[in-house]
C-alpha cells in the first residue's frame, strides 16, 4: 500500500513537472517550419556543391550539373539541401548516441532519480526546457528527451530516401531541425556527465591544465586516451588514483576526451586537438592508446600496430575490427598484447579497462622505451628522404590546406629546416601527404624537422567550466545592454584551420582586448592555449573564466557547445523575461534580434561541427567558418540590397518598421583572419541594440576593418539609426561621410545632428521581433 502511494505521488510529481506551457513542446518535423521559412527567406541558402552528380540510388549516377533533374526528379539544389541535412543528421546522431550511452550507463549506475546538478541555476537544462517544454530534474527525466531526439532523427533520415522529400526549402527546414536536435543531444550528454562525474559546475575559477606535445615525462609509461567519451577513461583514472599510480604513469588525452579527463581529475593532461593525433602516435611516445568514440582516426590501429602500441577500444560504435575480449581475464589480454599476438582489444567492461590499461602500460612501457620505437626518421634518414623529393607537388595537391611542402623539402636539402617548423604549426596532421610517389613519409619528415619546437610546445588551458550561471548573466546584463561588452564570441569546433593554430589565438586575443566575451570549447579551446605572449602567458592565464567583459571561458568539450545556445536562452529568460517552456520560436526570435552572439568555427571539418552551427542558426545565432566551411555545401546568406523584403515588427505597437540587416548573414565563411575579424564585429550588431551599444559595436567594426583590411567598411552607415549610434570618437568625420553616403538621413550640419531618417524609425524601439508573441505573458 505504501509502495502504491509512493508510486502515485511520484507520478503526480512527474505530471506536474512535465506541464507544458509553450506553443511548441516536442516540435515535430513541421512544427517550426514557419520559423525556418522566415530564416530561409531572410538568409537564402547558397549551395556550393562538392559533386554535380547524385549516386544515392541505382537510377544513377545522375548528372545534375546546372541544376538539372536526375532520374528520380531531384535537382541539384534539392539534392544539395538533402546532403546538407544528412551531414547535420550525422553530427546530431553522433552527439545523441554519445548522450544515450552516457545516460544509460549512469542511470544503470546511479538510478533514475539521480539529481541533475549543474550548479546555481534557475534553468537546469535550458535547451531541453525550450524544446521539450519541461525542466528535467533527474537523470530519468532525460529518457523521454532522448526518445524524442531519436524518433525525430529517424524521421529526418527517412526523408532523404529516394521518392520522399522533394523541396529544397523543406530540406533546409529539416536541416535546421536536425541542428536543433543536435543541441538537445549535446545538452543531455553534457549535463549527465557534469551531474554524475563531479565536473566543474559554472566554476569561473576552474583550474588550468597543461597542454602540448612537449608536456609529458617520457621516462614514464604513457597512456593516451583518444576521442570524446569519458566513461572508460574515468575508470582508468579511478584505478590510478586508488593505487597511487599518478607518479608512475603519465595519462593524457587527445581531442575532447582530454577535456573530460581534466574536468574529472586534475592529474591529467592534454596533448592537443585532433590535428595532433597522428603526429603524436607517429612520435612513438604513447605506450597504450585507449579509444572511445568520435574523431578517432580510421587508421589508428594500423598506425599503432606499426609502432607496437596496443589499442584498447572501449565503445561499440568504434571497434576497429578488434576481437571482443570483454569476458577474458586481464592477465590473458595483457599477455597477448605485450607479446604482440594481438594488436589491440575491444573491451566493453569498463572496470576491466580501468585495471587493465595501467597494468598494460607498466608492462609494455619499459619494453617499448628500451627498443626506442618511433616512426620519426634519424638525422641520416631525414637527409636521404628530403633529397628524394622531385617537387611534383602531389603532397601539396593532396593537402587539405595546400601547404607548400616541396619548398620546405628543398630548403631542408640546403640545411634550412625553418620552413618545416613553420609547416608543423600550420599542418592539420591528416597524413594524406604520405601518398608520395617518391615514397617519402612526409608527415614523419615534417615532425622530424620540428622536434625542437615540439619539445617547447607547452601551454595552459582552463578546464571546462560547464554552464554559465544565472548570477554571471545577471551581473553582466548592464554591460551587454550598454555595449560595454560589445558581444559574445564563441570560438568552437575542430582544428582544420586555414592558417594554423596561431590564427584562432590571434582572433581570441584581438576580441578579448576589445572587451568581447570569448567562449570556447573543443579543439579551439585547446589550440588557443598553445600560444603565449611576450611574458610567456597564455590567454587563459591572462583572462579569467568569468562570463564578464573581456574574459575567456572554456565551456568544455564538443558536447559542452550546448552551453552556447543555453546561454542565449538564459539571457532571453532572465533578462527579457521570455517564457522558455516549449517556446522555441519566440526565444530564437529574441536571440536573433537582441543577443549579440556569434559562433566562429574557424577550423570546422566534422559533421558534428556543421550540426552545432546549424543548431545555433535555428536559435538565431550567426556562425562564421573558415574557407574550408564552403565544403559543407550550404551557407545562409543575407541580401541587404533587398530592402523591400526587410521589415521587422515593433513590439511597442505591432507596427512594421524597416530594419538594418542585422545580423547580416546566418552562416557564412571568411577566407582569412583579416576579413574574419571585422565580420565578427558586424555580426554582433542586432536590431535591438541600444544606441550606446550600437555606437560601441560600430566602433569595433570600423576599427577592425581599418586595422585588418585598411579601409573604412562600405556599409557602416546602414547601421546608423540616429546620431547617438555614431561612435563618439569619430563623430564629426562620420557625420560628414554619412551625409555623402545616405541621402535618406537629414542632417543639420550646423548642429552636427541627425534630424530625420526616412528609412528607420527615429528612436528605434529596443525590442523588435519577426513574430507576434506566441505565448501569453506569464
Amino acid at each position: 500500500m505504501k509502495l502504491l502511494q509512493q508510486t502515485r505521488t511520484k507520478f503526480v510529481e512527474q505530471e506536474e513537472k512535465l506541464i507544458v506551457e509553450g506553443p511548441t513542446p516536442r516540435p515535430g518535423l513541421i512544427d517550426l517550419r514557419n520559423w525556418d521559412y522566415r530564416i530561409i527567406d531572410t538568409y537564402n541558402p547558397l549551395y556550393t556543391s562538392q559533386s554535380d552528380t547524385c549516386d544515392y540510388c541505382t537510377f544513377g549516377k545522375c548528372d545534375l550539373t546546372c541544376n538539372k533533374r536526375g532520374a528520380c526528379g531531384i535537382d541539384l539544389e534539392t539534392h544539395s539541401a538533402r546532403e546538407g541535412m544528412m551531414t547535420c543528421i550525422m553530427g546530431a546522431a553522433c552527439h545523441t548516441a554519445h548522450a544515450r550511452h552516457l545516460l544509460n550507463y549512469f542511470i544503470n549506475r546511479y538510478g533514475n532519480d539521480h539529481p541533475i546538478d549543474v550548479g546555481p541555476t534557475s534553468l537546469n537544462a535550458p535547451v531541453t526546457e525550450v524544446i521539450m517544454g519541461f525542466q528535467p530534474e533527474t537523470m530519468g527525466d532525460f529518457r523521454p528527451v532522448l526518445d524524442y531526439v531519436e524518433e525525430q532523427l529517424t524521421n529526418l533520415i527517412s526523408s532523404a530516401h529516394t521518392g520522399q522529400e522533394g523541396s529544397a526549402r523543406d530540406f533546409e527546414s529539416k536541416t535546421l531541425h536536425a541542428g536543433m536536435l543536435d543541441h538537445l543531444g549535446m545538452e543531455v550528454a553534457e549535463i549527465t556527465q557534469i551531474s554524475c562525474l563531479g565536473f566543474p559546475k559554472s566554476d569561473e575559477n576552474a583550474p588550468l591544465a597543461e597542454i602540448g606535445m612537449g608536456i609529458l615525462d617520457q621516462d614514464k609509461p604513457i597512456v593516451i586516451c583518444v576521442g570524446h567519451n569519458v566513461v572508460a577513461s574515468g575508470y582508468i583514472l579511478d584505478h590510478m588514483d586508488w593505487n597511487g599510480l599518478f607518479d608512475k604513469i603519465e595519462i593524457a588525452g587527445l581531442c575532447c576526451t582530454a577535456h573530460e579527463l581534466t574536468r574529472y581529475n586534475k592529474n591529467t593532461k592534454i596533448i592537443g586537438s585532433m590535428s595532433k593525433q597522428l603526429k603524436y602516435i607517429r612520435s612513438g611516445i604513447p605506450d597504450v592508446l585507449v579509444v572511445d568514440e568520435q574523431c578517432v582516426r580510421a587508421d589508428i590501429l594500423r598506425e599503432a600496430k606499426e609502432l607496437f602500441i596496443p589499442v584498447i577500444a572501449t565503445n561499440d560504435k568504434c571497434t576497429h575490427g578488434l576481437p571482443d575480449r570483454s569476458n577474458d581475464s586481464i592477465d590473458e589480454i595483457i599477455d597477448d598484447l605485450v607479446s604482440g599476438k594481438q594488436a589491440g582489444a575491444l573491451i566493453l567492461d569498463f572496470e576491466k579497462v580501468g585495471e587493465l590499461v595501467p597494468r598494460l602500460a607498466m608492462k609494455i612501457g619499459p619494453i617499448r622505451k628500451a627498443k626506442g620505437i618511433t616512426a620519426i626518421p634519424t638525422d641520416e634518414d631525414f637527409k636521404k628522404l628530403v633529397s628524394k623529393c622531385t617537387n611534383c607537388l602531389k603532397c601539396t595537391r593532396d593537402c587539405p590546406q595546400s601547404l607548400p611542402i616541396a619548398d620546405a623539402m628543398e630548403a631542408a636539402t640546403n640545411g634550412d629546416i625553418s620552413k618545416f617548423e613553420h609547416l608543423h604549426e600550420k599542418c592539420v596532421g591528416c597524413g594524406i601527404c604520405d601518398n608520395c610517389p617518391a615514397g617519402i613519409p612526409v608527415l614523419n619528415v615534417i615532425e622530424k624537422a620540428s622536434q625542437r619546437i615540439i619539445k617547447l610546445e607547452k601551454g595552459r588551458v582552463r578546464i571546462g567550466k560547464g554552464q554559465i550561471s544565472d548570477d554571471e548573466i545577471i551581473k553582466e546584463a548592464m554591460n551587454l545592454e550598454l555595449g560595454i561588452t560589445p558581444g559574445v564570441i564563441a570560438l568552437v569546433g575542430c582544428s582544420n584551420y586555414p592558417d594554423g593554430t596561431k590564427g584562432i589565438y590571434d582572433v581570441a586575443e584581438e576580441m578579448l582586448e576589445r572587451g568581447y566575451i570569448v567562449l570556447t570549447s573543443g579543439c579551439s579551446a585547446m589550440d588557443i592555449g598553445l600560444h603565449k605572449n611576450a611574458d610567456g602567458k597564455t590567454l587563459y592565464e591572462r583572462y579569467t573564466g568569468k562570463f564578464s567583459r573581456g574574459n575567456l571561458l572554456n565551456a568544455g568539450s564538443c558536447v559542452s557547445n550546448a552551453h552556447i545556445g543555453a546561454t542565449t536562452i538564459k539571457i532571453a529568460s532572465i533578462l527579457a523575461g521570455i517564457q522558455t517552456k516549449g517556446n522555441y520560436e519566440e526565444i530564437a526570435d529574441f536571440v536573433l534580434n537582441a543577443v549579440g552572439a556569434v559562433g566562429i568555427a574557424w577550423g570546422a571539418f566534422s559533421q558534428k561541427a556543421f550540426a552545432i552551427a546549424t543548431g545555433c542558426n535555428r536559435l538565431g545565432i550567426p556562425v562564421v567558418t573558415g574557407p574550408q566551411g564552403a565544403k559543407y555545401r550550404r551557407a545562409l546568406i543575407g541580401k541587404p540590397y533587398k530592402k523591400e523584403e526587410g521589415g521587422i515588427m515593433s513590439t511597442n505597437d505591432d507596427s512594421i518598421v524597416n530594419s538594418e540587416p542585422a545580423p547580416e548573414h546566418l552562416m557564412i565563411t571568411a577566407e582569412t583572419k583579416d576579413d574574419l575579424l571585422p565580420l565578427i564585429a558586424k555580426l554582433c550588431i542586432r536590431p535591438g541594440d541600444t544606441s550606446t551599444a550600437r555606437a560601441v559595436k560600430l566602433t569595433h567594426y570600423i576599427e577592425l576593418s581599418e586595422k585588418y583590411l585598411k579601409k573604412m567598411p562600405d556599409d557602416w552607415h546602414i547601421y546608423v539609426r540616429n546620431e547617438t549610434d555614431i561612435p563618439i570618437a569619430k563623430k564629426e568625420q562620420l557625420l560628414k561621410l554619412l551625409d555623402e553616403k545616405r541621402r535618406t538621413i537629414n542632417i543639420d550640419k550646423d548642429k552636427e545632428k541627425i534630424i530625420g531618417n526616412s528609412l528607420l524609425k527615429f528612436g528605434t524601439p529596443v525590442h523588435l521581433t519577426n513574430i507576434p508573441p506566441l505565448c501569453e505573458e506569464v
Binding site: 562538392q50 595537391r397 540590397y641 583572419k673 583590411l709
Partner: protein, 195 residues
Amino acid sequence: MTKKEDVKTTRHTGKTIDTTRHATPFDTGNIPGPKTARAVMPAVSGKILARAQRPLLIVGSQIHDKEILERVVTIGRRGIQIAAAGNAYKSLTDQKELDVHQVNMHALAAYLCDPSWHGLDKKGNYDLVAFFGITYYYASQIIATLKNFSKIKVISIDKYYHPNANISFGNLKNDIFTAALDEVIAQLPKVKKNF
C-alpha cells in the same frame, strides 16, 4: 589543340607559354562531375574578358606578392571592376584610381546568382566573372555555385586548373603564370573602358 601561332614564350626565360597543359584539378580529389572547364591559352581568356559587357575580376588572399599585385592593378586600370575578397583589399588600398570593392566571397556568390542584384557599383549584375589569387579550394567551391545556379560565365585566370569554371588555365609554374596574365592583359583595351 593549341594553334602554333598562339604559342608565345616568356620574356626572360624563353619558356613556351602553353596554359592548356596539366589541366587536371589542382586539389587531386576535386572532381566535380561530367562538366569541367576547357583549358585555354591566355589570349582566349583575354579576348573573352575584353568582349564582356559587364565583367568583374574577383581576387583573394593570394595577390599580395608584388608580381601578382602589379597585374591585378594593371587589369583594374584597363577598366575592369575588382571585387577584393578575403584580405586582398589591404594591398589595393592605395590604388585610388581603381574601381575596387571589398567583398565577402561567399556573399558575393549569392548576389551574383541573383539576377535582380544591382552589382557592386549599382549598375546591374555581371555577365562574366574572372578570378585568380583566391585560396584554391575556396574559389573552387564558390564558383561551383556560379556554374550550377547562375548564367554568368566564369573564367579562371588562376595559376591552377579550376574544373568548375567555364574556361581555365592548367596548373602553371610561377613564371608561366605571370607571363600568362600578361598575355591576358595584352588583349584588354589599352585605354580604360567603361564596362
